[in-house]
C-alpha cells in the first residue's frame, strides 16, 4: 500500500502495483538508435510539434543500460543485425521493442541479400508501425500502446501479472 499525504491533510490510497506501473509507463526511455530514414521521423516525434515528451519518452539514452525501449527505425542490414541483438541484450529488463516502418517490420522494398527481412527475426517485437516512413503520430501511437501494455501489466513490467 502506498500512502500519500496531500496539502490539507488529505490522503490518497493506491495499490503499489498501480503506482509502479503508472511511474514506469510514464518514463519509457528510448535508446538512441537511428538506422535509416525512419530515424528522421523518430527525431521529429521528439520535436515540439509532436512532442514525445508529453508521454515521458523524450529522454533518448545513449547507453542501452539506461534505455527501456528500442525503436528499430529503419532497415536492418545483415551486418547490423548482431549489433541490434547485442544492444537489445544489453538493455536491462523490463524492455520493449518498436519495429518502426516497413523495412524494420518486413524488409520493405529491400527484398535482397543485404537486409534482414523483419527485425523480429532478431529481437522480439512488441509493436509494429506500418508506413514508409510512418508519421510521427504513428510512432506516438506505438509508444501509447507500449504504455497501455505496461499499465495493464504486460510483458516485461516489473510487477507483471501472469
Amino acid at each position: 500500500m502506498a500512502v500519500a499525504e496531500l496539502p490539507g491533510g488529505q490522503f490518497l490510497l493506491a495499490k503499489l502495483d498501480d503506482v509502479a506501473r503508472w511511474a514506469q509507463s510514464s518514463s519509457v526511455w528510448p535508446l538512441t538508435m537511428g538506422l535509416a530514414c525512419c530515424a528522421i521521423e523518430m527525431m521529429t516525434a521528439t520535436a515540439p510539434e509532436y512532442d514525445l515528451a508529453r508521454f515521458g519518452s523524450e529522454v533518448f539514452r545513449a547507453s542501452p543500460r539506461q534505455a527501456d525501449l528500442m525503436i528499430v527505425s529503419g532497415r536492418v542490414a545483415q551486418k547490423m543485425a548482431p549489433v541490434v541483438k547485442r544492444l537489445y541484450d544489453q538493455m536491462a529488463d523490463p524492455k520493449w521493442v518498436i519495429s518502426m516502418g516497413a523495412c524494420a517490420s518486413s524488409g520493405g522494398v529491400f527484398d535482397n541479400y543485404a537486409i534482414v527481412q523483419g527485425v523480429d527475426q532478431v529481437v522480439p517485437v512488441d509493436v509494429y508501425v506500418p508506413g514508409c516512413p510512418p508519421t510521427p503520430d504513428g510512432l506516438l501511437y506505438a509508444v501509447n500502446l507500449i504504455q497501455q501494455q505496461i499499465r495493464q501489466g504486460g510483458r516485461g513490467g516489473i510487477l507483471a501479472r501472469a
Binding site: 545483415q78 551486418k79 516497413a102 517490420s105 518486413s106 524488409g107 527484398d111 535482397n112 541479400y113 543485404a114 527481412q117 523483419g118 523480429d120 522480439p124 517485437v125 512488441d126 509493436v127 509494429y128 506500418p130 506505438a142 500502446l145 497501455q148 501494455q149 495493464q152 504486460g154 510483458r155
Partner: protein, 206 residues
Amino acid sequence: MPSSQTPPAGATAVDPTAVRPDIADARIIRVGPADLRATLAGLKADGFTMLLDAGGADYPGRDPRFDVVYHLLNLKPGAATVAAVGRPERVRVLCGVPEAEPVVPSVADLWPAANWAEREIFDLFGIRFDGHPDLRRIQMPADWEGHPLRKDYPLRGPARERSPRPNFALKSNVGAGTPASGRTAAALQKQIAAARGQAVPKDDAS
C-alpha cells in the same frame, strides 16, 4: 538532346572504350593487369595526384569478365588562381580482369585513398589486389560467402533465393506478434474488445 555520355543507340555496353573512346573531359585508357601499375604510377607522376574513386564492373560473357576502373584528377598543384586551374583534367583507367585469375596489383601505396576502395572491390566482386596491406571485406560481414555485385549472385542471397517473401500484412500489433509479446498482445486485444462492447476474440495463441 542526348548528352555526350549517352551511348550510341544499339551499342552494347560490353566494352566502354569501344562505345565511347572519350567522355567529355575524361580520357579513357584501357590497360591489362600487367601494365596497370606502371600506367597509374606514370599518370601520378604527370600530375594526376588525386584518386577520385576506384570501382569494379562485371560483364558476364565477356573475356576478360571484369573491369577495374580508376578515376584520376589532375589538381594542377602549381596553379595559383582558380582561373589557372580551369577545368581540371581527368583520366579514367580501365583494366580488364580475367575470371580465371582475378588479381590486379594494388595501388594503395601510391594513393592511400585506394585502400578502402580496393577492399570494396574485393568484397563485392572478388577481385584480389596483390600487395594490398589489409585486404579483407569492408561492407559485408566478415564471414560472408560470395561476392554480391557479381551478376550471377542471386539477388536475395543463396540461402533465401527460393523462400517466400515475408508478408507485412500478417504482422499485427494486437493479434500475432512474436511469442514473447504475443500473449500480451492477445490479452490487450481482448481488453480493447471488451471495452468497446464487442465480442471477445478467442485466444488461439495457446
